[in-house]
Structures are given as structure tokens and as C-alpha cells.
């Protein structure tokens, strides 16, 4: 299922700037301003926006393109290019493989573990969910319900237990029952808490102490996040070697444009997107669809 069809319900007349651009006959200074505004409103950030606009202007000049459609195509191409042609598949190869989910509070880690559990169970993978959030009230209950929903085993510890040991146990359990994949939830933490970031480094280390290998550390970023998303990505990467981003809540009115800067600066590709609260609301990330949704370049979607 495509992102476009999933977002149809939610999108509203938000990108007035882009629509305005389409209706002009030739692109002038005001049009460039409008495009710049559209990028800022999508949370790309001031400096990424300036870079993108400058690059598109150069390309437009070189191609002598001053028709709005040409410029919009250039814009789309430019941002897609910046998102790069990374391998966005989720790496396996461990015995079992461990995918670790990290991020600040409330972004959608636990829900993503559940959804991905569904996806993998359906694909026939043997999956164990590890309740590595031993801190937040009822976090393990929440994951247990997801385990029931998607039909995956859940390993959890007591409230307040050491998250590393819970994840270690889950890995050993998976090894014992011959499951291929451990999806490990962790507690939300703001990256300003040094001790909690250290805890995360430890979780990552200990997850590999036994039979397993951490083949993905996925940073979950909420689409509503503004410029702090880039700082989050830096800090979590320092602490836990992030290998990919899951962009959640893209079914809302926020665009998640900060991931462009994250990918450009840190080279961390977005791998999945969350588009709802249900078990099937998870899609593989597609740069072209993402960019179209970012600027609402697709007519059908407009309200």
C-alpha cells in the first residue's frame, strides 16, 4: 500500500504555498519565497531549506526553466537526491538478529515494535519481542498486548529490572527456541540525560554478549518533531550507533522534514514510516512518495 493512499484522509489544505506556485505563469522572486516557506513549514529547517533552494535555483538557471512545473520537478528531484539512494532494508544475519528501538519519550517505539512484529510474523520470521522498557508505568503491559495482537512471544522482566539483562534474556530465549529475530523495545529518554544515554550504550553492548548480533539500531522520530530531531539523531548515534530511522505519525498534519537534515548530516537513512496506531500501519520508506507528501505535489491528495 502506498503512502499516498494512506495519507489521503489526513492531509488538509496545508501546502498553500506550493499550490500558489503552480498557478503562476513564470517563476519569480515571490515564487522562490513561497517555495522556501513551504520547506520551512515542512520542518526542513532554515539551513537545509536555504541549501535546497539555492541548488534548485542553480539547476533552474542552468536549464533555463522558469515554468512552475519544471521548477517543482527540480525541487522534488533535489530533495529526493538529498535523501540519497541508501539501502533501506532492515539488516539480518545474526543468530538471532537483534533490532533495537531507541528514541526520546512518546515517539512511538513500542508501537513500532508491535507493528514490525506483525510484519515479520506474517513473513514467517520467528520473532521475540523484548520488553526493554522496565521504567515507564505499564510499558511491559503495553508490549504484552502487542505481542498477543500480532502473535509474537514477549520476554519481559520485573519493573525496574536492568533493561540490558531483560534484552539479554530475550536474545537467549530466541536462541533457545530457534527464533531468528528479537525486536527490543527500550524506554524513552531525552538525550540530555547522560546516565540514560550511557544505559543505552550498555544495552547495545549487552545485547551482543550472548548469541545475538545487533544488526539494526532504529531511531524512532515523531513527524511532529522540529529542529531538535537533528540533535536527537546526533546524540543517539553517539550512544548507540543508530543504523536507521523510523518516522512515525506521518498520518498527522506534520511532514517530518527534519529527516532530510538527519540523512544528509549523519547519513542515517529513514527505513520505515508509521502511518497510524493499528498493527498494519507501517510502511517501507519511499523517498519519492515521501517528498510528494512533503510538498503535496500530488493533486489527488488535496482536499
Amino acid at each position: 500500500m502506498s503512502l499516498r493512499s494512506r495519507l489521503g484522509r489526513a492531509r488538509n489544505a496545508f501546502s498553500a504555498q506550493v499550490r500558489g506556485v503552480r498557478s503562476v505563469s513564470t517563476v519569480d522572486a515571490a515564487t522562490w519565497d513561497a517555495l522556501e516557506e513551504a520547506l520551512i513549514l515542512a520542518d526542513l529547517g532554515v539551513s537545509t531549506t536555504a541549501d535546497v533552494i539555492a541548488a534548485v535555483r542553480r539547476r533552474a538557471d542552468a536549464e533555463a526553466g522558469d515554468e512552475p512545473d519544471v521548477v517543482l520537478d527540480l525541487l522534488r528531484a533535489e530533495v529526493v537526491e538529498r535523501l540519497g539512494s541508501h539501502d533501506r532494508s532492515l539488516a539480518r544475519g545474526g543468530d538471532p538478529s537483534v533490532w533495537l528501538f531507541v528514541g526520546v519519550n512518546g515517539v512511538g517505539k513500542t508501537t513500532t515494535v508491535g507493528k514490525l512484529g506483525r510484519m515479520e510474523v506474517q513473513a514467517g520470521t520467528g520473532v521475540v519481542l523484548a520488553a526493554g522498557d522496565t521504567f515507564r508505568a505499564a510499558a511491559a503491559d503495553q508490549l504484552a498486548l502487542w505481542g498477543d495482537e500480532v502473535g509474537a512471544a514477549v520476554v519481559s522482566g520485573a519493573e525496574g529490572a536492568d533493561p540490558s539483562s531483560v534484552i539479554f534474556d530475550a536474545v537467549e530465549h530466541a536462541a533457545a527456541v530457534g527464533a531468528d529475530l528479537v525486536l527490543a523495545d527500550t524506554a524513552g529518554r531525552v538525550h540530555t540525560r547522560g546516565n540514560l544515554m550511557d544505559e543505552l550504550s550498555k544495552v547495545r553492548r549487552v545485547a551482543e554478549k550472548g548469541s545475538g548480533t545487533v544488526t539494526e539500531t532504529l531511531l524512532v522520530i515523531d513527524s511532529t518533531t522540529g529542529q531538535n530531531g537533528l540533535v536527537q539523531a546526533r546524540r543517539f548515534t553517539e550512544a548507540a550507533d543508530v543504523t536507521g530511522v523510523v518516522l512515525t505519525k506521518l498520518d498527522g498534519s506534520a511532514r517530518g522534514g527534519i529527516v532530510v537534515a538527519v540523512q544528509e548530516e549523519l547519513g542515517i537513512p529513514v527505513k520505515m514510516v508509521g502511518v497510524g496506531e493499528g498493527p498494519d500501519d507501517l510502511l517501507a520508506f519511499d523517498p519519492v512518495e515521501f517528498v510528494d507528501a512533503l510538498f503535496e505535489l500530488d493533486d489527488d491528495v488535496e482536499a
Binding site: 484522509r9 489526513a10 492531509r11 496545508f14 516557506e37 520551512i40 513549514l41 520542518d43 529547517g45 532554515v46 526520546v104 519519550n105 512518546g106 515517539v107 512511538g108 508491535g114 522496565t134 521504567f135 515507564r136 508505568a137 505499564a138 510499558a139 503491559d141 503495553q142 504484552a144 498486548l145 502487542w146 495482537e149 519493573e159 525496574g160 529490572a161 536492568d162 531525552v190 538525550h191 540530555t192 540525560r193 547522560g194 546516565n195 540514560l196 544515554m197 550511557d198 544505559e199 515523531d222 513527524s223 511532529t224 518533531t225 522540529g226 529542529q227 531538535n228 530531531g229 540533535v231 505519525k249 498520518d251 498527522g252 498534519s253 506534520a254 511532514r255 522534514g257 527534519i258 496506531e277
Partner: protein, 485 residues
Amino acid sequence: MFEGLTSRFEGILRRARSRGRLGPEEVDDLLREIRLALLEADVHLDVVGVFLERIRERALGAELSGVLNPGQQVVKVVLEELTLILGGETMKFTYAPKPPTVVLLAGLQGSGKTTTAAKLARWFKSSGRNPMLVGADLQRPAAVAQLETLGERIGIPVFSQPTDPVAVAVAGRAEAARLGRDVVIFDTAGRLAVDDELMEEVRGISEAVQPDHTLLVIDSMMGQDAVNVATAFHDRLSLDAVVLTKLDGDARGGAALSVREVVGCPIAFASTGEGLSDLDAFHPNRMASRILGMGDVETLIEQVETTYDREQAEDAAARMLEGRFTLDDFLEQVNQLRRMGPLSSVMKMVPGMSQQMAGVDEALDEGRIDRIEGIINSMTPAERIDPGLIDGSRRSRIAAGSGAQPSEITQLLRQFREMRKMMKKMGGSGSGGRSSKRRGKRRKGGRAAGAEPTGSDRPATKGLALPGLGDPAEAEEWILRGPGR
């Protein structure tokens, strides 16, 4: 990387100084910098526009007064204006004549509603009230279990039933009345502003329970979308106040300004952690300097207080600002600061430090602190007080003792000297954000390293005297008359 308004202004002001005045051109340049700063802080584009218009008038008018230099005047104008908008009218927290007083929380998924509900309940309880919590989120897995766990921790009853959200709300309100609870707080499911069905649902809840106070819970990390969200919730629910969460992160929090500007209602509370005591009165002045990246000495002092004794904290802060500290202090500081999070985020609260800290932070990245400790421990007491004593042979001795390379020692000493110089400079230049007003000692809950029992926020310390919280009498006064005075 964002460097704070003051440093951004420097270039422009140097030009202005050479001309001896601040003309319209410089004002334009300054406004452009302010615009960038606000956008990088996630203030909504349109709100930035409106704000700059106001500033332009005042900035041009401000040239006439002669006490501050023109640049300082503009900074002052911006800060004042921002504080004014963020503060403005404050929340009138009144109790319903016929109990229970009904409080409804709403917001996007994961913004912090459930946690805030429990924090508010705790706060009402400490104000001598008998609150009750109602779990009207029947959507998110284990939402009610989460609220029940929190309620148990603070000894407050939680009501819910697996019917539908409106029915639960109605029954919960009746139950509160029956039990004679005088405040009832409704936790609702997270919902997207663009989800018509769920937005209608929360309006249904609101109509059914007729809240005295409807609070929108907003994540301070939010970007440009905050405006759309606040508008949509305000349209359906007619908000009374906003709670800004996750301020213990380092987002600049421009969303606060956006939301304040579009919904017009006050930001009543600042949430600064996961512990149930981490709810503070909202301070417009602090938020203004945070958005502008101008540092906030007061917050620094408070954070230091959470690990230090207050006296010691003030002393340490003063010594930092005066540059009167030794390598022992340095080590002590580093160890204390390490507990609060990345050094850079703490040091950035000191006015003028954000830029300088860029380099120091790398030098002091958390992983290297142990090595630094080793080096300093291999020095004699005299060397720690006066690093100038350390010549080539002493250096070799220290290197041998600590297992470090001599070059690392040289580097550390250089950084230490650099830092001391910088702090001295700041101390001397009169720290703009520093308030003479002193606060009582204050403790925050939150997790201790590793394995503190989950979520148990520390017991309420007596003498918690932050305006608005802890001391109920003062709290009510704050809510009635507003913070910031």
C-alpha cells in the same frame, strides 16, 4: 549549529558601532538574525512574521534611550516582547462552586497527557484537595493500566471501565461526585488534529463532563505543526491553558510561542521530566531566553541544585562565573555536570557560553572524563590549584602516573585555562539572564543512574518552594495572579 542571538548579533553590531548608531539598515539585519533564530527554535513561520513587525517598531523607537548600547537595546526589546507574549494573561484556576472541579486533558499521541494527569493529581493532593483520575483512553494498549500504576504511586484513585470514552467520562464524573472527590482529572486518548472522528469524540467527552478547565498538552520538541494542532484543538474544545512537556530535553521550544500566539490562552505548566514531581510553573522569561538561545543562569543553578546543596550550587556557579576555580573544582564540576546530561547542554545555559562551548564540549566528551579524572588525580594538590607549576618534568611524572600521553596533559591544561578565561570574561560582563531573586531549595524526581525502582519519583521534599508548586498557598496565589513577578 545554533549559537544564540547575542553571538549572531556581534558582526552586525560591530558595524553599527563603527558608525556610532543603529540605522534602519542595521535594524533590518538584526531582524533577519532574529528571524533565523526564531525559525531554528521552531517558532511558526507566520508567528515569526507577526512578531518581527512588533519588534521593528520598538527597535527603531528604542534608539533614543541612551543607557544601553543599541545592540543590547534590541536584545532587550526582543526578550521583553517575547516574555510578554509568552506570559500575558495567566490561568485563572478556580474551583467549581459545586464540586467536583473538572479538568480535561487532550493532545496528540505521546505528548504526555497521562503523565501530566498524574502529576496534576499529585499537585492537587498536595494542595489539600481530594482528586480522582479518570482513564478515558480506551484506545492505546494499556493506557488505563498506565494511569492505574501512576495513581497507585501517588495514592490517588483511578476510575475506568471498558465501555466507550464518553460513557467512561460520564460515569467517572458521577463516581467522583458520589465519592465526594473535589477535583476530577480526565485523561483522554492521543489523537491527531486532522482525525475528524476522534476530534469529535473528544468534543463529545467535553460536552458530557463540562470541564472547568481544558488543558492542551503539547510536546516542546514540536516543529511548525504546533500551530495547526493548537488551532484544531482550540476550535473543538475551547482551551483554557496549555501544558508544555519534555522541557528537560534541549529543544528550544519555539512551539510555545506559536501556540500562545494562536490560541491566546496561557501556558500554565512546564513539565520537566518523567517523575511525578517534575511539573513546574511556566516561566515566560526563561522560555524567552531559551527560545532565543541566550542562556539561562537560573535554570543552570536549579539543575545544579538537584545534585548539590543549594549553597554549594550558588557558590559553584559564582566561582564558575568569576573564573576562580581550580582543577579540583573543575573535576568536581565535571563529575556533577556529568549527572545532569551532556556538558554542553548545561553550559549553554550560561549566557554567552553556547558558542564557546562548541569546542569545549568536544574536548570534554563524556567518554573522556575518566581519563581527565586520572590525569588530575596524578597531580599534586599544589599543581591542581596552580597549574602554572606544571613544567616538562612534572608533566612527565603526571603522564607516568596516569598512563596518559604528555600531549594529553598539555591539551587538558590548555582547555582548562581557556575555560577559566572564558568564565571570567562572562562573570565580569554581568550575566544578563541572572536574576537576583533567589528561590528555595527544590528537588526534582526522575531516574537515578541505572536501577532505581521504576518511576518512583522521589518523595516530596518539604520546603519545596517553587512559585506555583509544592507550597499550596503560594501555588494558588501564583495561579491566580500569575508568575513572573
